[in-house]
């Protein structure tokens, strides 16, 4: 079943790079899609459009078949009514590069606050779920800690648990390891890898090529606001068809030595 469908999406900013110029793709249930490309290619903007952090200029987005935003043939962009949008938003989870944990809440409360306040879950139930998630990310003993007491990798794992607590249909990751010291990326990637094994639907913007190759079912390569090439990790990393993909991956291997 298709969870996300994007048609001909455009988004630009006044005087800024990182635009999206006509992007279409879809993601099926249980699929892990890696989105790679040079910085400024529009990856983050695309993710921000999909998670309603930015309003699109043109195009359509469907979540589990329901229209989140559509564009009429005359070019009129219409978002779903607020009540619908709120429901759709709950199907979408997001993990940020800088974690964005709430510093004044304990780890546990970071995870339970949205289920209780937004999803109207009973506090006891929310706590049970939160503790299960903490066990899953290996931070059972940190339930009462505050974010400032955690390492970057621990913070990011909590941020993943916080997103999962809302039981999203699809989880987006915006460069989840880019703000971490190299020795801390492994623990975060492990959590994502485990989620992939559980058939969690995910879209991951990443610069970790080895990880993308290992975990993704499909890889999208984006450059200058467009999806230039799309394929299985074997094809895209092994025998990239497009010149720009080759150049990008070539630079990457050269720079990272991986």
């Amino acid at each position: 079943m298709e969870i996300l469908k994007v048609e001909n999406l455009y988004k630009s900013f006044v005087g800024a790079e990182d635009v999206v110029t006509g992007v279409s793709f879809q993601i099926n249930e249980g699929e892990v899609v890696a989105l790679i490309g040079p910085s400024g290619s529009g990856k983050s903007t695309l993710l921000r459009c999909l998670t309603l952090l930015e309003k699109i200029d043109h195009g359509s987005i469907f979540v589990a078949g329901e229209p989140m935003v559509t564009t009429s043939p005359s070019g009129r962009v219409t978002y779903a009514p607020d009540a619908e949008l709120r429901k759709i938003r709950l199907r979408l989870g997001m993990v940020f590069q800088n974690f964005n944990l709430f510093p004044h809440f304990s780890v546990l409360r970071n995870i339970t606050e949205a289920p209780i306040r937004v999803a109207q879950m009973a506090p006891a139930e929310a706590e049970t779920i939160a503790r299960q998630l903490l066990a899953k990310i290996g931070l059972t003993d940190k339930a009462d800690a505050y974010p400032y007491q955690l390492s970057g990798g621990q913070c990011q794992r909590v941020a993943i648990a916080r997103a999962l607590a809302m039981k999203p249909d699809i989880l987006f990751f915006d460069e989840p390891t880019s703000a971490l010291d190299p020795e801390l990326t492994g623990e975060v990637l492990k959590v994502i890898r485990n989620l992939a094994a559980e058939q969690m639907t995910m879209m991951v913007v990443t610069h970790e090529m080895a990880f993308a190759r290992e975990v993704a079912d499909r890889v999208l390569f984006m450059d200058k606001g467009q999806i230039v090439e799309e394929g299985s990790p074997e094809t895209l990393f092994g025998t990239p068809a497009n010149e720009r993909t080759r150049t990008f991956l070539g630079n990457y291997n050269l720079n990272s030595g991986s």
Binding site: T51, L52, L53, R86, R89, L90, L92, G93, M94, F96, N98, N100, L101, F102, P103, H104, E113, A114, R117, V118, A119, Y146, P147, Y148, A159, R162, A163, M166
Partner: protein, 224 residues
């Protein structure tokens, strides 16, 4: 006997000044009661993207911070009866005029402190809250404001300490607060000692204010 003769007049003075201090405390608490929430509203209006809202608020803040508080006290007491058209003229009771002037003046200062605090919260906090589905008001009151309060405690404590001392300005409206009572006593006795005792009163009040803010800061030091 000697000790009694020495301390009896002093005790009398302290009690007299204490009644003045009660008036000072009344204006102090009423000003905080009105100016702290009003300052938040002014800060939000000041940050509004709509120019019709932010521009007049900016002007208001400029005037309230840019003119002497003592002048504002005189204005709110005398102006309604002087500049309004015939028939609409009225005069506020002295004390109400004082509370009004203080509340508006301090709200303007608090507004700028709130604004600084709100703008210092990273955009990522709003985005994380939005993606989790929090409403705008939940985001503001549960996520943003608690963090703002922690950050603005030191500048707010500055203002509150200043307020204790500024309360002496209402003497200009002839209200018998601590400073006026002390000065009258000083004139009557040809002695400066009532003024120094008044100084100790102010110092004591601000010692308590300082202690309270220290406690609040400590209470919020559980996170960074």
């Amino acid at each position: 006997m000697f000790i009694f003769e020495y301390f009896a007049p002093l005790l009398k003075q302290v009690i007299l000044l204490g009644t003045g201090a009660l008036t000072t405390l009344r204006i102090f608490f009423l000003t905080l009661l009105f100016s702290l929430p009003l300052g938040l509203l002014i800060a939000l209006a000041r940050m509004a993207p709509q120019k019709w809202l932010s521009a007049p608020v900016k002007l208001f803040i400029l005037i309230m911070r840019g003119t002497p508080l003592i002048l504002q006290l005189i204005f709110f007491y005398f102006a309604p009866s002087a500049i309004l058209p015939e028939g609409l003229r009225f005069t506020l009771p002295r004390f109400s005029a004082a509370v009004l002037a203080f509340s508006l003046n301090y709200a303007a200062y608090f507004a700028e402190i709130y604004r600084g605090g709100i703008e210092s919260i990273p955009q990522g906090q709003y985005e994380a809250a939005a993606v989790l589905g929090f409403t705008k008001s939940q985001t503001f009151f549960r996520i943003i404001l608690p963090q703002v309060i922690k950050r603005i405690l030191p500048p707010v404590s500055n203002e509150v300490i200043t307020l204790v001392k500024d309360s002496a300005l209402i003497t200009v409206l002839g209200i018998s607060e601590l400073f006026r009572v002390a000065r009258n006593e000083a004139n009557r006795l040809f002695s400066t000692s009532p003024l120094f005792i008044a100084g100790l009163f102010y110092l004591f009040m601000n010692w308590i204010v300082t202690k309270l803010f220290d406690a609040a800061e400590k209470k919020l030091s559980y996170y960074r």
